[in-house]
Symmetry: D4
Subunit: 248 residues, 8 copies
């Protein structure tokens, strides 16, 4: 609830346009829709001009169907993450224009066009196995209305591959660095460029990578400044935040 | 063994109503029934007026069948947690009136009615994915004889959703807060209400949630007072303890 | 902000008694006092009839002095936890009647009397080394207006010591169980009594106790129901929540 | 290589009965048989009068078959742990008299009779779900030539169940305590009896039991003396060591 | 080495203005100064228009003195973090105008003025004990040429305190959220505002906070989007990155 | 409370020799003495013929003095572990004959003689730095009435040193293996001898030894059978249990 | 990019043989081939005379096929690790001479012969279950052009088995020690031989082995010098580095 | 005990030059000297031509004095690691020529000259704070008879600093890479050079570096091949093993 919302509401009440009961009701019911299993948040959409998002992991297909059916009534763009093909099949039957980005595990329902800023986001990944997470970030950023440059498989084991793309990386407004194993890519990028680096550790690796812990700790302890870290495998979060920064 | 039990037994022995051998036997055999693979504890039922409980995880269906068959001889209410549909099918063949709460994974066999106190328990969950654990808590509390108010999907990412339900939460006698990921719901509730909050971290999340560790640590470190924590995903424990407090 | 507060405020605005600007200001300034380094929360006191609390660890003596000076203007009871003798000396010079509970590391300034419920809280500790944490719980509960029964050094290595006090523990309304090392006391108590047990793991132990982790995990995994867990060494939290339950 | 072995070998060489080359060969080849994938150790059998043991987990059925075929040539008792029914089927085709202890996951091939000491080992388990590990300990101890008393499902949540069996536990020469979850059984037993307690944490539990870590730490931090700890789920190890102590 | 640098160098060589030997030397010697114990990096300054930074922890006072003496020759602004009063005393004797920000543990030597953008950074902290880390972030951002708004002691245990400052937080271009214990502040802020939140967990807390681990995991698992995380207690890193974003 | 104790008490009550009230009192008061800060357990002494033990860490010198003063009334042997010189000085003033084993940090007060079995315990340590823990085990075992053979500094980095003492180790009735760092000594001993090995990990080491965790895990995962593990640095526990086994 | 490469390039530019544009292009495109999902690194091959390597885990079969198709154009030896039979089948259809080392999970495509040094590498494993990792090391080393001696199943539980092979181990130029569980083999070897030991912990074990953590920590804390450690189950890494050392 | 030693001994016995008793004694007493608190191992010296080493941490000054006094009788070079100035003062009084390398915390007593191979070892460190560990490695390698090139403060945050030294690093026979924080230096070096890299994580860092855990995991998970890892802060181990490889 922003200051403006409160002010407007109070003025409405003062001027008699809104009764006390109505005021209370508005405070409680306006910004979301309660469908029992979920409270759909329209607030974010209104405030941010961005798609409704639904995180599919841990929800049954039936729950997802119910939530998206409700969302569809509002005619907003809808973005579903961590969606498997079975979920896509179900959503497609609800809404034909639903698109599926398989590598990124994202379903997108386009209801409105968006205008992209001219600047772009660079999404850089260390290895081929990190691509699903990198794609989640890249596709999210694109669907939130941004241009994205992908630079994949440029891990520090072959530094010359990374150095070859330095200019495209350096010219981005913000960089998403996706790496598993030892996650050194984030530190190396942080040292080479003067743009914010959003580091996404991935669970790629084995043994003492402890499902992404190694890359996570590495990125948190980056000796280079200008690096902030997302949760392990959180491509969506990185794409979302990169979009936020790219649009500043 | 309470003081009263001991006193009664000693008096029986002193008055010659109970022989020494009988006294010893009573001390050893009275409160449970040994069926080889398990020692069924009737003590709790007698003492607490609550259902017999059986935790199904890690037991074979055959063992569960054997234990419940024995329990059925006593004509008490029986509650089985973490029960999958296969177990339910088996129990149903033993006892037709067995009910299955699928979301909560609970089987209930009702043999006696119970009287509920007028006060109620609020079960609050952060996300849709936390509902199975929340339901385990809510159904347990109901089957132990309590009124329950469910408020689901009110995580702190959309604080206005939570604030809209503040009065129903504040008027409960005790609150169960169920959340995965960063588990911030418990702290926020602890700061907003002046009732005991039983916090249940869930294993919902990924990456650095480490199967519920993140929410668990969060809840243990709550900056708000009046919050105590149950094991990860332990909806039953929260429902049980909330019932205990609601009946005080 | 409860529903009633909002209703009252909106009515005041509607009736013209409160201007829009005043309404906004009230929403922002009423419940706390900003003294730069801290925002003292009078809300809690008004709402809960309990002392102001200040946690001293991590604050400089100068900060504590400044905060308590401000608090003293309100004439409420004040309770400072994790206070060392140096802090006490400083507070005493601000306010002569400040009392120091050395074992519990608590400073108390009594400005109002409180009425205790007739029921009592049992504070049970496993070993002599756990007494500081147990005392923090016991003294907190007393200063929040409760009768407390202390039963110390009754760890499970000598079970007969614990069984000797079973009646006084069983007759409490709520039990605080304080234990380090393997923390088995909580499970044993949870199995013996039918009252809520608030378990406080302590950092007492060495080696694989990992500064309380062992007792913490033990208590979270209690095979007995009716046990909820506080943070390691969080005697204050247990005393606070026990008080809350004892007053229900 | 014991002192006696060395002495005998050196004397043989000195007396010319053994050449230097033969001496070297004996030092290298005597106590085991190299079959490529494994070096079967006959040393242990000769020295200890106990069965050959093969741990099946992590070995292919073909490897197990090859190892047991080789072992069968020596006519010793053979004990295979962590054996699933498929392995049993394969071994049975090698050797008809192979017996399968399903709950304990042990295959036994009896070639020699053994004499049991008169004293016995008590195997105590906390819950029904701990029985597979307890059985692994009990069956191992029996097959190594010991009498075993099983006391199952006597966890500390119902202390009276445990106290009822105190005499049979107290009269054992050594006690194996098997428990998951918070593992408090070991501490309680350690406090009640004056015999060595071999504690086996199990991976039974969920959430913050972290697959047995909770019980493991609990047992290591036992406030009672006379408790030593085996690896999580290591029923075999406990049965083996209990046998060793029982035969002292 | 950016594309432009390479291009210029190659052109110089092609045009004969730079010999091959000189070219090689430039590639190796230009951007840093080797003083034995350290290689001072002037590259960053030239490229970024920001102060030279030295991290004092783990360096001896003598090493710091030697490094700063060398840096002073370049007449750039110099910023030393994690500096104790003893180090300040030493630096002051090297350079009179050195300023010490005690709470932030920062020494600053001002040689050049900087122009601040009109937008500002909000630095929000949960508790009084988090102020040193918050100040490290705030002072760093200011010394890198930014306006900063400080909002301290607004942890989620008293949500109304935070809500009172919502407009000043919402109007910032980027937000630094500093919190220890359960670190819920980051999630709550992430849900309330639509600006990037840089979350800094602090080591404030005790017991199961495990020196900041609890807050760190909480922030990484934030259920709100738009939150990225710095290392525990890394106020400098947050100030640096916030400055980078504020200047975009 | 053994079966015999109960039987005797019940008979006394039956025969009228003991009143019900007396019976109750006996059940509660007999086996320990409550001195407020501690409940001294005489039960153990009576049952086990072993010294009273007091663990000094985490207790104030005043508490230790009070506990030992009370113990001295019973004329039993008293053993205080983890005692520093300051505590010794205090105890010496209470009781002149108190002896101090400095390396083992043990104080012993001898009131009764004890008879040792002819068999002995071998205490084996890996390095010079492990000697304090090894001495705690060895001195404890001696003071509980056992012969001990010490074999120190025979870690596996120089296997020939260990092999040289194989006969004295092999002829012991039970072996205590004390090692820090990687703790391989326990496995090697377990493979070489056919006696129970009580393994004590020590906190000796640095870096990834994580204060004894490395040795602890090593010993728990010993590939040799016949090894059970005590807590990190728990020399007392090993000496106590070795004594128990040696006296079987 | 070595000094020589730079020098050559600059000279080419200076002499007019290479234009500035070409120079830039060479710097960026020479050492790898971008096929979208991967950037194949020919640099390593040219520099090191060793096969191209592809790590299959985490890549789809389609990706692996695409990468190897590209690699085949260069006519180098190709080595694919962590390859399952399904991948082999696919690769075989691309290239008939592909060989599959099933135990080692390695596919090899031989295009060039290599000359082996006369010295050899000893690959030593503790147990039968460790053989897959040991084979990965051994086969890798052989395919990189080395002679290998395998000594398997010589864990420290039967030390005489290991001692029997001491001369073949001692005469190797470098030793790979592969062990799970407590990983003591590395320390024992490190103490017995004076050659570099590359220790590979395996995830073989259960319970407190925590999927190889126990062996990993053991090996890192080896009390013997001359031991360095690879990631858990990283047989390839050990074989690669052993080859590097053997060829020095 | 090598094959040759055994052969010689057996021949001596066969030829009557050595009696059986003497043979046994030789097997047990030859290679070390028992001085009670330690068993000094001369074996290593004889076998390896390298100095006697004593690790000082965890030993009292008196113990170190006693051990070195004994060592001095043999006239070998002696190297003491982790030695503080107090220990040096004590050793100097035993032996005037003892030298102290303060940064490396090493004491060296030179009794014999050694010949260095012509190849050299490169010791590379990431930051100024890592120098003590790097110096421990470098000085150890020098005192074991090797040429060492030091390249310090070339962490990946300023990659150009590292690239400037690539030729001196590439020309070494073996490389020691010392880094704390995120430890990315090891991966970057592993990718740039084709020589074995011995990686030493340091405890330099704060927060989520967890005293070196972050760098340790990073290095273990290096995406570049040819990297093996030592314990945290184990400069000695790296210097020792680098010497071993340099002398191959």
């Amino acid at each position: 609830m922003t200051k403006e919302d409160l002010e407007k509401l109070l003025q409405g009440v003062q001027e008699g346009k809104i009764t006390v009961e109505e005021g209370l009701k508005m405070l409680k019911e306006l910004p979301y829709k309660d469908i029992g299993i979920a409270k759909i948040d329209y607030h974010r959409e209104l405030r941010k001009g961005q798609p409704e998002v639904i995180y599919c992991e841990g929800k049954t297909t039936a729950q997802i169907e119910q939530i998206i059916s409700e969302m569809l009534k509002k005619n907003n763009n809808i973005l579903a993450t961590r969606a498997n093909p079975e979920i896509y099949k179900c959503i497609q039957s609800l809404c034909k224009e639903a698109e599926y980005y398989e590598m990124a595990r994202i379903i997108f329902i386009r209801k409105k066009e968006f205008i992209c800023p001219k600047t772009y986001i660079a999404v850089v990944s260390a290895g081929t196995s990190d691509i699903p997470v990198a794609e989640e970030a890249a596709v999210t950023a694109e669907l939130f209305g941004n241009h994205v440059q992908r630079i994949y498989d440029v891990g520090v084991a072959g530094l010359h591959r990374l150095l070859g793309y330095l200019d495209v990386i350096q010219n981005a407004k913000v960089i998403v660095a996706v790496a598993g194993m030892e996650g050194a890519l984030a530190s190396v990028l942080g040292g080479l460029v003067d743009k914010p680096v959003l580091a996404v550790p991935t669970s790629v690796g084995y043994g003492a990578s402890f499902r992404g812990l190694s890359a996570l700790l590495s990125m948190l302890n980056s000796c280079a400044s200008g690096v902030a870290v997302l949760n392990i495998d959180n491509g969506f979060g990185a794409g979302y935040m990169a979009s936020m920064i790219n649009k500043l």
